[in-house]
């Protein structure tokens, strides 16, 4: 009984959350998949540039770049999503995003295979992230957007690039 109430309220909550998720998304691809991030989080898109590797940082951190005099970290989403590595191509881009971490926002770059387009997704087109059971992390997925026949995985940038994960850099390094 208690279980079903909890489930019902969870469903209700996710439904309410989806209501706010309608909006404009920047879509990009990594491998065959198409992902979307809220357009409001995106600062700019820049072409690939030489990245300085930062020693003893997690492997999904490719390094740091000079964004007009400001040093910002760049994250490799392929590694973050535990996908196969591949060489950068001429289509490889860095999407510069503003990540909210508690009180402040941090500028970061994310490396993606290819930037596609900006699409408006209505709330009817969004479904909650499917549950794959334990072991599959879906908390950084806002929902699944369906545009015509395409499926767009909508990412919660703040969670994907959670600061706490980056802050553990040193800890991870120490344990080696």
């Amino acid at each position: 009984m208690a279980n079903s109430v909890a489930e019902a309220s969870a469903a209700l909550r996710s439904h309410a959350a989806i209501q706010d998720r309608a909006g404009q998304y920047l879509t990009f691809s990594i491998g065959p998949e198409v992902y979307g991030i809220e357009i409001l989080k995106v600062q700019e898109i820049i072409g690939m540039m030489p990245v300085t590797k930062v020693p003893r940082s997690p492997d999904f951190v490719r390094g740091v770049i000079n964004l007009r005099g400001k040093v910002i970290p760049v994250i490799e989403l392929r590694k973050k999503f535990e996908m196969e590595q591949r060489e950068d191509t001429s289509m490889t881009c860095i999407i510069v995003v503003q990540v909210a971490t508690g009180t402040q926002s941090i500028t970061m770059g994310i490396i993606v295979d290819e930037v596609a387009e900006v699409v408006a997704i209505a709330k009817e087109q969004i479904e909650p992230a499917p549950q794959f059971g334990a072991g599959v992390r879906t908390e950084f997925i806002l929902g699944i957007g369906k545009i015509a026949s395409k499926v767009v995985i909508l990412l919660d940038v703040d969670k994907v690039l959670s600061w706490s994960e980056l802050a553990t850099i040193d800890e991870a390094a120490k344990e080696q």
């Binding site: 300085t52 930062v54 020693p55 003893r56 000079n66 005099g69 040093v71 941090i106 802050a167 850099i169």
Partner: protein
Amino acid sequence: MDRDTVITRIDALAECLLLSDASDAEAFARAKKDLSEIAVWAKSDGQSDVGKILESACERIDSAHLGNGTSAASIYDLTVACLSSLQMVVRDGCSVEQAQFPRALYDAVVQEKAGDEVSTKANESTSIDRGILAEFLDHASTVFADLEPVIVAAESHPAPGAVAQIRREIHTIKAEAGFVGLGEMSGLFHAVEDAIDRAGGGTIPEGILDALDWARRHIAAIEGKGSAPGSPDELVARLREFTPVAAVVVPEEPAVIAPSTRIESDPDLMREFISEAREHLDNADVHLLTVEMNSRDSEALNAVFRAFHTIKGVSGFLGLEDIKSVAHEAENLLDKARKGEIELRGTYVDTVFDTIDMLKRMIVSVEGAVATGGLLESEPGLRQLVDHIRAVLAGKVDANMETRHASPGARKRIGEILHSQGVTNPAAVGSALAAQLQIDTMPLGEILVREIVISRSQLNHALEIQKQEGSTRKLGDILVANGMARIEDINRALAKQSTPASDPVGAMLVRAKEVAPKDVAMALRGQKQHAPIEVKEAVKVDADRLDKLIDLVGELVIAESMISQSEELASVASQHLTRQISQLDKITRELQEIGMSLRMVPVRPTFQKMSRLVRDLAKKSGKQVEFITEGEDTELDKTVVDKIGDPLVHMIRNAVDHGIEASAEERIAKGKSATGSVTLRAFHKGGNIHIEIQDDGRGLNRDSILAKARERNLIREGDQLTDREIFDLIFEPGFSTAREITDVSGRGVGMDVVRRNVESLRGQVEIQSELDKGTVFSIRLPLTLAIIDGMVIRVGDERYIIPTLSVVRSIKPDAEQIATVTDRGEMLKLQGKLIPIYRLHTLFDVSSAKTDPLDAIVLILDDEGAHVGLMVDELLGQQQIVIKSLGETMKAVRGIAGGAIMGDGTVGLIIDVGGIVRLAEVTAPARAKRAMTAA
């Protein structure tokens, strides 16, 4: 009493209340007396409604057992509002309705008229807002829950602190209960409080817990959760009968001795107090300067007095006893001046300035304690200051004594004098002068705030009222109507507004926080005897913009070198272009130099503070110490100057306290002059700034330090250490508790702090010392913080930058120099010493780097005096780099101090030498750091 007398009394009372505040019991007593007498008059004059309202006000003053923040403040507001309505009735002949007496009072009278005289328990709270009552009930329940265990504990082990806490809480509840109209509860707790007082802090009277239980049941009944507990009379009687078994007389503690207290008041109230106190103090600074110039300026004097008075009052009910007591002392002094008993000048003014400074520091501590929720430490020197004020008041200190000599020479302008004394810079004076020329009229409210007639929050409140009313009334009228200001104050402020005479330069500078008010006072004294000369023109610039400019100049330097060194350009054989480029190069360098110089300030003010410190320390310890400063004009980056103060204080204190021998005889016996000397000097050397503290005292005792270090397992038995390594031991954290050190060698308090602060400025500390001859502490600091000289190195495909300051030398080792020592890894034999070699490529996990030390280059780096070798592939050259933060996400990366934009636009990483060494030690824990340096 006739109408005119009443009007005079009302006015006098209003003035008295305005000059006081909610914590002033005297003012309340007077208000009560006056109001009740006026009530009698009003009734005899046929204005029975007014009489009743006033009686009701008196009752409220009575019930609001003072000293409690919330209720006292609201009663204060109520009284003031009541007074202003009373003025309208008596003076202007308004009707009771027109006069708009406070609702709480007016309603009581109207209710009485309607014959509604029922005062049963259920109705007790009708005149009070339901919300306030609910809030009180909620608060009281929490307090009772917190209090119970304290009382239980205190009953078995009475502790003065616990009893004081209980008393405080009970007092608060009592006052609040009275305020919300719960008369029985208030009475009960009044009895409890009395009983505690009679117990004298020794024992806890029985029946407190019963009283709590009664109050709980009462609250529950009000909330509708049970039946009313009946009358508390029996409890009250029991408490009245209470007599302490063995009353322990607690000696009256001087208010200032409270080493640390926890701040218990509402953080919001605290924050408001902090910001208002700051503003009051800043204004007091300026007004005090006016007094310094003309001790007969009673307006300015009153403004200073009001500032202290307000701070005293507010701090009192926020429980900030230290602040209250020191403000109180200063207030006494100012009161004497107000009454004309003393003329406020010389030492008097200095003392008040000192008090303002002390209060400012205390406010900072309070702010810290509020922010962290930590304990409020008692401010050092508070006791002395209070004693000093008392001594000054008692006439034990000569009022005409000058604490500092005014600068000699021709009559100068105030800004010039201040600049020549190094307390300000031409830029600041210039901007003050510029501001003086702006004859902007200030808004009325702003003038009143500056004159400390009203507080900022009162102003905001009045403006709010104005806004709500659709600005039909003038601000002045609102302030007067709400009892926040007197008509006279408003008129004076209006007069001031219409003749915009700007503040003198000194006052402007103080307002702009450029100089200490005391310095201006000194300069003013000096000025009185001299004649004027010209002031250099200067502009005041926002520090952020300055930093931005310096950043940009740094970028420009890089961009310029990228162009001038580009290969494409080199292939263009044009003499014309070459000449233009070299011109660009020259201009860029000049721009860089000027940019750097913008942030530079002389160390003189810092040194001057030290001279005061030496004087005080010498006096305290009864030693004769001569303090010599050299190179006060040496300029340092502003950040460095700000941060170097603390380490200097520690080192100077060590030099005077422990370095210089305790007695003149001891010195003479050693063949030294009776007077000890401490020298503080600053100079440039090799692109760095050096600051040295030299004393001719006892010197460091090697053997004692070694013994201590062995005891603490910092070194091993049989380790051979150089003098420098031994002296470095005193920087070890915890090596420096005063007792141990006084016995050992007289060094070390806070030395750990010294080293950390200096290192955070990318500087280094060294000690030279000879037993019985003296000690020299040398601090080496980089010229500037934003730009450093870096050595660019390559490891595999990666480039890193090592601060040149840390690089001792680089060598290409040959096979004989490399040795592998068991448990210690690779070592480099250099000049008879073994230095550990760390491989940068392993530490940073760089592939394709050289793995054979014989092919590589070993950089000898200096880490806190110890040498380590870092194996790299190649040195690429030296260059100046602008340090960039790697941002929040990357700041925790070990071994990396920051980033820099390289010539090709990519980011280069700057190596943190200390971090690298610690990283290497973590990865190879077997290597004890001390062990490496053994021969």
